[in-house]
């Protein structure tokens, strides 16, 4: 197992390098220009000087290796220095700079991380907590009213995009309900809000309700379908009949024997979804102005901000590769029949 994990970890290095190169080429070859969003009153000579100052005109390979060096060599040293107070000789070196903000990309990412983890992470947790029981009950009482309702809600979750459901709840809870009502909820997420006491926690809770619920609806829809299908597969297996024949209580049969076995694929799906949390939820973040990592990425794409796009997508790639590995390892732990040699 340990061998397998190590082997997989080593294999990720060329995979990630290859991914980083592909991302770089795709981003660079797309015809976007960091000066494209500027007012037309800025003349072309000035635009050319701006591009020159940003380093856009350097040869592609030079830009790629510079990025590699900054990302893998310079940035880790800077964080080590900050963490331990060492001097690793980074003074005077140019960090990975965003074209739009002219500030270090990694700082932007750290700044955005909290609101994304709070909102998208909570939504994921809420989604999973709702989805698994729904899936289990739906499967156990297949074709009951509960199952039909669950299927209906999942279908809504699957098919209604957040730019519709998000705006719908805003219109209901922020526009139609008067501002002084208990049921009124803020439509704009305040990223500067700090939780210091009970009152500020209540506000944080209120401003998170709408984005979290909109996201959780989608997550619930997906995971509850997986849980239901997996439970159904197991409920008709021979070992379930055996367990019942042994006289084990129904509750124990379902919640211990069946549930444990059916959770194997579900856990994999949940683990594979975790990198998505860090990726943020581009549309939901836009709708509620959460301004997390998803919004950072979309703004960077629109603005031709190559270093930010490249770094963010690459971090997502790392997370996806890692969580794939985690899912594989978990699989082995949950199911003793699976062995990696």
């Amino acid at each position: 197992m340990l061998n397998y994990t190590l082997r997989r970890l080593i294999l990720t290095i060329p995979t990630l390098l290859f991914i980083s190169f592909i991302i770089f080429i795709i981003v660079k070859l797309s015809p976007s220009d960091p000066t494209g969003g500027l007012p037309l009153t800025i003349p072309p000579e000035v635009r050319e000087q701006i591009r020159e100052a940003l380093g856009v005109n350097k040869p592609l390979m030079v830009q790629y290796f510079l990025w590699l060096k900054q990302f893998f060599w310079l940035e880790p040293r800077i964080y080590l220095e900050a963490a331990f107070g060492w001097d690793l000789g980074t003074a005077g070196e140019t960090r990975l700079i965003s074209y739009a903000t002219r500030s270090p990309v990694m700082d932007l990412i750290w700044q955005r991380m909290p609101q994304t983890l709070w909102v998208v992470g909570t939504a994921y947790l809420v989604g999973v907590l709702i989805a698994v029981p729904i899936g289990v009950i739906s499967a156990y009482k297949q074709y009951s009213i509960f199952d039909q309702t669950g299927t209906f809600i999942s279908m809504i979750g699957f098919s209604v995009p957040p730019f519709f459901s998000g705006v719908l709840v805003i219109v209901i809870f922020s526009v139609l309900i008067p501002t002084d009502s208990f049921w009124w909820l803020p439509s704009i997420y305040d990223t500067t809000h700090e939780v210091t006491d009970w009152e500020s926690f209540k506000y944080q809770f209120r401003q998170m309700i709408m984005p979290v619920m909109v996201l959780a609806l989608q997550i619930t829809a997906q995971i509850s379908r997986f849980a239901r299908a997996s439970m159904l597969d197991n409920l008709n297996q021979d070992y379930v009949r055996t367990a019942r024949a042994k006289g084990i209580r129904e509750r124990k049969v379902v919640l211990v024997h069946v549930l444990r076995n059916s959770m194997i694929p579900v856990v994999t799906v949940i683990a594979l979804g975790i990198p998505g949390i860090f990726g943020g939820a581009i549309i939901t973040e836009q709708v509620f102005k959460v301004n997390g990592l998803g919004q950072l990425l979309i703004i960077a794409i629109q603005g031709g901000d190559v270093p930010t796009v490249q770094t963010l997508t690459f971090i997502f790639a790392i997370l996806i590769v890692l969580f794939n590995l985690v899912a594989d390892v978990l699989y082995g732990l949950l199911d003793p029949r699976i062995r990696y040699e």
């Binding site: 494209g36 969003g37 009153t41 072309p44 000035v46 000087q49 100052a53 500030s103 836009q286």
Partner: protein
């Protein structure tokens, strides 16, 4: 007429500060609590020299200020000085090569240190430093040196005679930054100064407390602001992100915010939001004109490297009657109504403002004339074929019409396509993502400069009130072509000696009436040759809460230029 007088005033010196200050809302600084502004495009930096974007200019205008700026009528008003220098008051030399500014007495930076002429000089040095990529370098064009004879006097020397010397240190684009703060940030070092770029020390009514790029800015009243009773607001939250519709909703429907910028929404949508009773729409008209550019060169791909250059004249758009017919077929009033409502006006000029510069010679375009257009084409020998498309000598009137991706523009395309079909012109529509279309990557064939289409539509305008640089965009040497890496503003590739002569005359003429005459003549030439077809004179719109007082919409400068004068109504 008022605008004209105001403009003369800029030259002849009109010092009157805006009259809006005196409406009885006096009191101590910070009395009205928090002001909440939402910009649906979030500012990414507070240094306008490192970003030419409007959102950054405007956010920064709360903190850093120029020596003089434009008011809501487009007239120059002194800001950090007591009067705007002119030839008449001796501030501008007779040969138009130097301008002398005198800083107001007792100005302080927000950190308490005095503002000196050295800071002004430094702002010029900062923007023109090698390798800095200053986005506002155009403002300092032709400046050869800046002298500082004493702590309050700044003398700007130009290498050539400048009939309009109000480029450097004027308007939101060219503010004064503090030398002490930015001294180590010159040229290639600019991006290493993240702190300075995010928290500039300024003279404006507010100072940055926290800057979260592309997200939110929190500001507090500047304790050292020159007027002790201003600003009325103690703090500002400047939120970014989302989209225009949700920003409008936050001000006019939910009332969560006080001011929302640039609401490019359908007019009926804005009216509906306003009817919720929490806020209102405001608009101001500057120089923005949505126009169709006509390609005088042949964009066919078969022509290889020389496509879209004057080596290959366009097969039919070089025929003036075709261009004229295309203009006559357009119902501009309908376009304004559908696309902009109260935020657009009819225009037949590409130079619609200031009023003194707006021509009235082309107003015949205001009425649609499909029959007249058909008659004109019949007369010119373009005969309709069996498919309803006109041809002449085997050349078919078939155009590719491109623009950027934007709901209003796609509506316009559909309407105009229909009108052109009615006069026997086949139209193929295409829309391109704005970041690609307005990007200037010479490797991309989809930019508005390469113009590999027959007609294209977009909006352009100019900063400030002087149209010289703008009108110079259609001279022969501004044609984008391979030799210029496809850079240049003359998208139609129009070239006329007569036009170039007018432009040369404009650059040496100082008299304001004479300049207006020349600019109008240039506009009329472009219009009467149908080089481009103006569609809509676009206003800049915003919305503010009914409880927010003192907002004076200004399209000539930062639209939140007078935030120091804003106050809360009802307190």
């Amino acid at each position: 007429m008022k605008l004209r007088t105001a403009l003369m005033g800029a030259a002849a010196m009109m010092t009157a500060a805006s009259p809006l200050l005196a409406d009885g809302h006096e009191g101590e600084r910070g009395r009205d609590g928090e002001l909440k502004i939402i910009y649906w495009q979030a500012p990414s930096i507070m240094n306008p020299y490192l970003s030419g974007g409007t959102k950054e200019l405007e956010a920064a205008s709360l903190v850093i200020e120029p020596l003089a700026r434009y008011n809501q009528d487009g007239a120059l008003v002194p800001w950090l000085v007591d009067e705007v220098p002119t030839v008449a008051n001796g501030g501008v030399s007779e040969d138009l090569k130097t301008i002398t500014w005198k800083l107001s007495e007792g100005l302080k930076w927000s950190d308490g240190s005095p503002v000196t002429s050295e800071d002004v000089k430094f702002s010029w040095e900062y923007c023109t430093a090698e390798g800095g990529g200053c986005a506002q370098a155009e403002k300092y064009l032709d400046v050869t040196s800046v002298d500082t004879p004493d702590a309050r006097t700044v003398v700007v020397n130009f290498g050539v005679a400048k009939p309009f010397p109000y480029g450097p240190f004027v308007g939101a684009q060219a503010p004064i930054i503090q030398k002490a703060q930015f001294a180590d940030c010159m040229g290639a070092n600019a991006p290493t100064c993240t702190d300075a770029n995010f928290n500039p020390i300024g003279t404006g009514p507010f100072t940055v407390t926290e800057f979260k790029p592309n997200d939110v800015i929190t500001l507090a009243a500047n304790e050292n602001y020159r007027d002790a009773s201003k600003p009325a607001f103690a703090t500002v939250t400047f939120k970014g992100g989302g989209d225009a519709a949700s920003a409008g909703r936050a001000v006019m429907e939910t009332g969560e915010f006080d001011y929302a910028w640039n609401l490019q929404l359908a007019p009926e949508e804005l009216d509906r939001m306003e009817s919720a009773g929490k806020g209102k729409n405001v608009v101001s008209f500057g120089t923005s004109v949505e126009r169709i550019m006509i390609n005088f060169t042949d964009p066919s791909p078969e022509l290889g490297d020389r496509r879209g250059t004057t080596d290959h004249p366009h097969p039919f758009l070089t025929d003036k009657s075709v261009r004229q017919a295309m203009s006559m077929a357009i119902d501009r009033a309908l376009l304004v109504e559908i696309g902009y409502g109260n935020f657009g006006r009819l225009t037949c000029n590409v130079l619609p403002a200031p009023a003194a510069f707006a021509s009235t010679a082309n107003d015949s375009c205001l009425t649609q004339d499909i029959d007249g257009a058909n008659a004109l084409l019949d007369e010119a020998g373009w005969a309709k074929g069996g498919d309803g498309i006109r041809t002449k000598d085997g050349v078919k009137l078939s155009v590719l019409y491109q623009t950027s991706t934007n709901a209003v523009r796609q509506d316009f395309q559909a309407l105009i396509k229909d009108w052109w079909n009615q006069i026997g012109i086949e139209v193929e529509l295409r829309n391109i993502d704005a970041s690609v279309f307005f990007g200037s990557d010479p490797g991309s064939d989809d930019t508005f400069q390469k113009f590999f289409a027959d007609v294209e539509m977009y909006t352009n305008n100019f900063d400030g009130t002087d149209p010289e640089a703008y009108m110079a965009g259609w001279t022969c040497d501004q044609r984008p072509r391979p030799e210029t890496q496809w850079q240049g503003n003359n998208m139609p590739r129009f070239c006329s000696d007569e036009y170039d002569a007018l432009r040369a005359e404009l650059s040496t003429t100082g008299d304001i009436e004479e300049r207006a005459r020349l600019a109008k003549a240039m506009n009329d030439m472009l219009m009467q040759e149908y080089v481009m077809l103006p569609l809509v004179h676009r206003g800049r719109n915003a919305a503010h809460a009914n409880t927010l007082g003192g907002v004076v919409m200004n399209v000539w400068d930062s639209e939140i230029w007078n935030a120091a004068d804003w106050y809360r109504i009802g307190n």
